[in-house]
């Protein structure tokens, strides 16, 4: 195999998520993208799990679902994958509580958002009631 150039165009995938089947597709895309950009199996698995959490939230907590966008950017010594989960659903009234371990409005474990934050390198969430929610995470390959 030929050596890859040091800097390449971003490699992006978007999955529209409305059902559990889309969740499975999104996490498989995430794993493939991570492996393609030199992430180890554990790191790729962590990313796939984060995608699974955010995608499942689109299915469970919004009426119309949303989008999972993954963008990988390679540099000489490192690579970074940006994960964006976006919806125009009901929004989250109390973000601090939603981020707590064990808080769920649907009888879940309530570990999805808190667990995802611990899995990724950077985590940012913005939400407006009646407008939607947007979560941006970064996962780096050292």
């Amino acid at each position: 195999m030929s050596r890859e150039p040091d800097v390449v165009q971003p490699d992006a995938v978007t999955v529209t998520v409305t059902t559990e089947i889309d969740v499975a597709e999104a996490r498989q895309e995430a794993r493939r993208l991570a492996l393609r950009h030199g992430f180890g199996t554990v790191r790729a698995h962590g990313l796939a799990t984060a995608v699974s959490e955010l995608a499942m939230n689109l299915v469970l907590h919004t009426a119309r679902g949303g989008q999972i966008r993954l963008t990988a950017q390679d540099a000489a010594e490192a690579a970074v994958i940006e994960l964006v989960a976006e919806d125009d659903g009901p929004g989250i009234p109390d973000l601090a509580r939603a981020m707590e371990d064990g808080f769920s409005t649907r009888g879940g474990l309530g570990c999805g958002l808190a667990g995802t934050r611990r899995l990724v390198d950077t985590f940012a969430i913005t939400s407006r009631v009646g407008e939607g929610t947007r979560i941006v995470c970064l996962v780096r390959r050292p």
């Binding site: 554990v42 796939a48 799990t49 699974s52 959490e53 499942m56 474990l109 999805g112 667990g115 995802t116």
Partner: protein, 129 residues
Amino acid sequence: MRVPILRLGRVLLTSLPADLTDQQVMDLQIDALALIQAGKADGLVIDITAADVVDSYMARILSETAKMVTIMGGVAVLAGMQPAVALTLVEMGRGMIDMETAFDLEGGVAKVARLVASRGGRHDEVPIA
């Protein structure tokens, strides 16, 4: 399609597919509980070798199934967790999965037998004086 349940002696074995649906989970729980209630088995080993990821949704399903089996007087053991799954679960937070575990199916079956024996047989059996 229902997730098949096999019976090995007094232990039920099931292997979760990667794309497990809510309906399949409910059917599996009902099927396993019915077999345990009918006295056909002492426990259930759930193999997750094929599972894509164990996210908090899947973790809740697993722990809940284990709790149901325990309430029925049985033993539930999770088997076949891949190293990457285990590492990710630890990173996400302790206590996501609240059930007995074993390396593989064989270990799972042995663990069910051991746990049942260690408490002196099935919960619902009247001890012989």
